[in-house]
């Protein structure tokens, strides 16, 4: 880590895309229109669980203005065998999720699609498609899914990891166990043991921009896709898998994106629009409605978690044991593993056992949502910690301080922690005026901690020096949180030119090297690393050009504050050369200058946060108001502090919503009752106090500027922080979310 003073990193310039966004000029997914373009609509299952007996599209096809009607039969068989699974993604399942084949597995599952000259004709055509279903009993809860007589979603599913492996099919996709030590021994040496169960409901990311895509099929079988996504290379790969094409047959351009939070890390309408475009011979646009977003795109899991923790009278944890059940939705792949890996990670322990179940139910397949799996896990662990603190008569922060993991400690999921600032966040909370501020009647305060791994992965960047001395920074990561400006800030620091002389752009899949999607809080860390490397590449070339101009060795040229400076006795002979001067003369010194880097970034650095929440409870109506909220987080280094604060505030608000009022509500037939922002109660701006932030900076040694991931950690502590505050205000422990007014009033009665 260089201790060099930074000129641009850490400042707060206006974002490069800001003015266009404020003026409504930025182009989002639904903004592209092409000549001859058709409008696509998707027919969705009205049943949560049903066999598809037949689909008759004849009447729809006969309508004037309808140019294509497709069903699962228009897609290649879902991938299976080698190459069909990659990390958490099973492309066979993905193909079936994009367009149902044998079965409809949730209300909203895509059954067929049409492309027509107007959206109205497309809608009328949908109504003309005749589908015969054999309706099956829907499986809407974990309890039902795990019951011995539960209807089975997937006949071939066996509970992987269950010992012995059950013979018949089940709704459990996987059982996983991890841990070390001997928990029985650990609990026997404890003075106090608390064991509790916690539940959370299905919640949606709630991004403002619905999914939207325009696809065009080109004569040689290639396809071009424009869409709002967290990863253009992801869309390319996933469409190629689902449609059995080579990835490079597909060009994907990412639009501006109106939020994703993990929800835009998979494909839904993209492959459908390609097939429609191919069949109709015209470009096809599909824009989801809000209802479609709610019923058919990935929310995150509902969960049931049991946590048991034992402590000595001084607060030291002796053992911890947890069982986590997460709903995956219609196809396997809940974030239960991440839940398991985060559930005890903030605390040091010698004896730990964690068991997790990935369970399918007739709800939309879950997608990533900001620190996937971790908030529910923290809700459970922190809830038990809070109760332990009160049983021990200890300050809740002190209990954490006794147990907080330090550099070199082994995390409950295995690896050893590198340097991080967890304890610093706890100290910052203790010293913050908020922590000591007086509370009024019916008010309460809670604190809670959170951990998230953060990701590294593959990124590419090009830094192009233009003839006027301005630079273009090209990356392959859609900007969902201000990352473009952070890229520009790091490039500015390396090149020594002001950030407004740098234009950061997000390129399509044919204009920059492969980049994994924007997710895992990885872009400022990993793509930032690539940008720094590419900028260093440019600086190296600039020094070479100066050396050539001056006829000195490149070792005699130093790069200082945007200038090549002659050294080692040559200083008096040559005036320093600026970036602009060197760029202007590039044609004469060897041609254009650009740098590039592609890398697989390692060591993203753990993220820890501690939050403080104050609430007031109206004991006559059960309404909980958040009065004051402070989020403290170790961010490594804040490249652009405003965007770091924005992430901390946004994560906190999403977590508060999850804690208080958000939940998918299904009827007994498995139909979602609240697929709109009116009844899916995300917080609105006036519900929230200003979320106060405290940035703690313990630099991550693996990143040139010390960055660690920021975006996900802040959604981890709010669920328990809110619950603990409500507990202090009412004396009641809430272990089921949401803590909605009717539940509060009912609990106060008991």
């Amino acid at each position: 880590m260089s201790e060099k003073k930074l000129k641009y990193v850490g400042t707060r310039p206006i974002r490069h895309d800001g003015v266009d966004k404020v003026l409504g000029k930025a182009n989002f997914g639904a903004d592209l229109n092409l000549p001859g373009m058709l409008h696509g609509k998707i027919l969705r299952s009205p049943h949560a669980h049903a066999k598809i007996i037949s689909i008759n599209t004849a009447k729809a096809e006969a309508l004037d203005g309808v140019l294509a009607v497709i069903t699962g039969d228009d897609f290649p068989p879902p991938p299976s065998g080698k190459g069909s699974v990659e990390g958490p993604q099973d492309f066979g399942d993905m193909a079936r999720n994009v367009m149902a084949r044998e079965k409809a597995l949730y209300t909203g599952h895509a059954i067929a699609a049409v492309a027509a000259t107007t959206t109205r004709i497309a809608e009328i055509a949908l109504k003309a498609i005749e589908v015969e279903y054999e309706v099956l009993e829907p499986v809407m809860t974990l309890e039902r899914a795990l019951a011995p007589d539960a209807p089975i979603l997937h006949e071939e599913m066996r509970a992987k990891g269950e010992e012995p492996l059950p013979e018949g099919p089940t709704n459990v996709a996987t059982r996983t166990v991890m841990g070390f030590g001997d928990v029985d021994e650990g609990f026997s040496s404890a003075d106090v043991v608390v064991e509790r169960e916690f539940t959370t409901e299905t919640v949606h990311q709630g991004y403002i921009e619905p999914h939207a895509v325009v696809a065009r099929s080109i004569s040689d079988g290639r396809a071009e896709v424009y869409c709002c996504t967290q990863g253009q290379f992801m869309v390319r790969k996933y469409c190629s898998k689902v449609l059995d094409m080579d990835p490079t047959q597909i060009k994907v351009t990412a639009s501006e994106i109106g939020g994703g939070f993990g929800g835009k890390t998979v494909v839904y309408a993209e492959p459908v629009s390609i097939v429609l475009a191919r069949k109709s011979g015209r470009p096809v646009k599909i824009v989801m409605s809000r209802e479609e977003v709610f019923i058919a795109t990935g929310p995150t899991s509902g969960s049931h978690i049991r946590v048991k923790i034992g402590v000595k009278n001084d607060g030291t944890i002796t053992a911890a044991d947890a069982t986590l059940n997460y709903e995956a939705g219609a196809f396997k792949g809940s974030p239960v593993m991440a839940g398991m890996m985060t559930i005890f990670s903030p605390y040091r322990m010698d004896h730990v056992r964690i068991e997790g179940f990935d369970v399918v139910v007739n709800k939309p397949k879950v997608a990533a949502y900001r620190a996937p799996g971790a908030p529910m896990a923290a809700f459970a662990t922190e809830g038990v910690m809070d109760e332990l603190a009160s049983q021990l008569g200890m300050d809740p922060v002190d209990l954490r301080l006794v147990n907080a993991v330090k550099e070199g400690d082994t995390a409950a999921y295995g690896p050893k922690f590198k340097v991080h600032g967890f304890i610093d966040t706890l100290q910052a909370v203790k010293n913050h005026p908020h922590y000591k501020a007086p509370l009024g009647p019916n008010q309460g305060r809670g604190i809670a901690c959170g951990f998230w791994f953060n990701a590294g992965m593959q990124s590419s960047a090009n830094v192009i020096l233009n003839e006027d001395g301005n630079a273009t920074v090209v990356t392959g990561n859609p900007d969902i949180g201000g990352s473009r400006t952070s890229m520009a800030l790091m490039a500015a620091e390396e090149l020594g030119i002001p950030v407004d002389k740098i234009r950061p752009v997000v390129a399509d899949t044919e204009s920059v090297g492969y980049s994994d999607l924007t997710g895992g809080s990885r872009v400022t860390f990993a793509t930032g690393m690539a940008v720094v490397e590419a900028a260093k590449d440019v600086v190296r070339q600039l020094r070479e050009r100066a050396a050539q101009t001056w006829d000195v060795s490149v070792d005699d040229v130093e790069w200082r504050d945007g200038h090549a400076v002659a050294m080692n006795g040559h200083a008096d002979d040559h005036e320093p050369l600026s970036v602009a001067a060197l760029a202007g003369s590039a044609a004469k010194t060897g041609g254009p200058i650009s740098g590039r880097a592609s890398l697989n970034a390692r060591g993203p650095g753990p993220g820890f946060a501690t939050h403080i929440c104050d609430v007031e409870v109206d004991k006559e109506t059960g309404r909980v108001s958040v009065l004051r909220y402070t989020a403290v987080q170790d961010v490594g280094r804040a490249i652009h502090p405003s965007y770091v604060e924005g992430q901390m505030q946004g994560g906190a608000v999403q977590g508060i919503g999850w804690a208080l009022n958000e939940a998918y509500m299904y009827d007994e037939k498995g139909k979602l009752q609240n697929p709109s922002f009116l009844d899916y109660r995300m917080p609105v701006a006036s519900d929230m106090p200003m979320i106060d932030t405290v940035i703690v900076e313990v630099p991550n040694p693996t990143h040139p500027y010390g960055v660690r991931g920021v975006g996900e950690t802040p959604i981890v502590p709010p669920l328990p922080a809110v619950a603990h505050a409500v507990n202090q205000a009412t004396g009641v422990r809430f272990r089921s979310l949401p803590i909605s007014p009717p539940r509060v009033l009912a609990a106060l009665d008991d």
Binding site: L63, D64, G65, T118, R120, I121, E123, I124, S289, E291, E620, T621, G622, R623, L660, N661, M665, Q673, N674, S676, F677, L678, D679, R681, P683, V684, S686, D687, S740, P741, P742, L745, A746
Partner: protein, 301 residues
């Protein structure tokens, strides 16, 4: 109307829109459009319903260009509120705030700044939602609805206007022109409170309006209490009113009014709250609303 001439496939075409400049023109337009025509005020209910497929008008008759419907007049006789006056114009009106604070608050609660630039009391009432925020206030203020149609004008009390969820006394081709509310008597004031889990952009789980008249000694001479969102339509709660009348609005009287509200409420369990919860909140809000109205009325004596 053009709709009739488009032949069989007119349903495939986009909807049509006209904006008449007088009540008579609007009556004509609606006649021509038949059952597929709907009047459009702010559109903050209707356009949402059309988008989600709940309704499918083929002709929109815009009521925002008709001067009679855009007028807000306050005189010694009371209020004439045109059906299409936007919410923002109502709650920014100082006389409205002074004379009908409860109704004005109800109007102020609708939606957000953007919604309030378009949304109307006429639309709120004619949409027929049991949870519509202005309706309980219209009931306690004894509003009269003035309706136009091809058979001429008729007047219906607000308390009889809504007949069920999404249903009103309006016959095909009829529309609301204005709402008339008498001038408040001396010592009278109203209040409206609603419960939502959030602070805005939500639909009332329960709404409670109270209008009171206090004599110079602080005794309640007249009272009216109405609840929203706890029955198929907003309801007047006579029992709650009589609990208040003759009292000094002491805690015991307020509690009796609350109990009457609890008893009168017949809510259902749904995504917005359980029945028992709604009845509890109906009682709480009735008492709080009565307390607010009383405070205001005391200030006016």
């Amino acid at each position: 109307m053009p709709l009739e001439n488009e032949g069989e496939d007119w349903r495939m075409l986009d909807a049509q829109y006209i904006s008449p400049r007088s009540v008579a023109e609007a009556v004509e337009a609606l006649k021509g459009g038949g059952k597929d025509a709907m009047v459009l005020a702010g559109g903050t209910d209707l356009l949402v319903q059309a988008r989600t497929g709940l309704r499918d008008p083929r002709l929109y008759v815009d009521l925002k260009r008709i001067p009679d419907l855009m007028a807000l007049d306050i005189s010694s006789k009371g209020l004439h509120l045109g059906a299409s006056v936007p919410a923002a114009q109502i709650f920014e009106n100082e006389d409205m705030k002074a004379l009908y604070p409860g109704l004005t608050e109800a109007v102020d609660l609708i939606g957000s700044t953007q919604i309030q630039g378009r949304a109307t009391v006429g639309g709120n009432l004619c949409n027929g939602s049991p949870a519509a925020d202005t309706v309980p206030s219209l009931l306690v203020l004894e509003a009269i609805c003035v309706i136009a149609g091809s058979e001429g004008e008729r007047r219906v009390p607000a308390s009889e206007f809504t007949t069920g969820p999404g249903e009103t006394v309006l016959r095909p081709g009829e529309f609301l022109v204005r709402i008339e509310i008498p001038a408040p008597s001396k010592g009278a004031a109203d209040a409206y409170l609603r419960f939502i889990p959030r602070t805005e952009m939500d639909i009332a789980v329960v709404g409670a309006a109270v209008s009171l008249t206090l004599d110079s000694s602080g005794c309640c001479e007249a009272a009216s209490v109405a609840l929203g969102a706890v029955a198929p339509t907003a309801i007047l709660v006579e029992g709650a009113a009589s609990a208040l009348i003759g009292s000094t609005l002491d805690e015991a009287a307020l509690e009796r009014a609350g109990s009457a509200a609890y008893e009168a409420a017949q809510p259902i369990d749904d995504k917005r709250g359980t029945a028992e919860y709604r009845r509890r909140v109906a009682s709480v809000l009735t008492q709080r609303s009565a307390r607010m109205a009383a405070e205001r009325a005391r200030g006016r004596n």
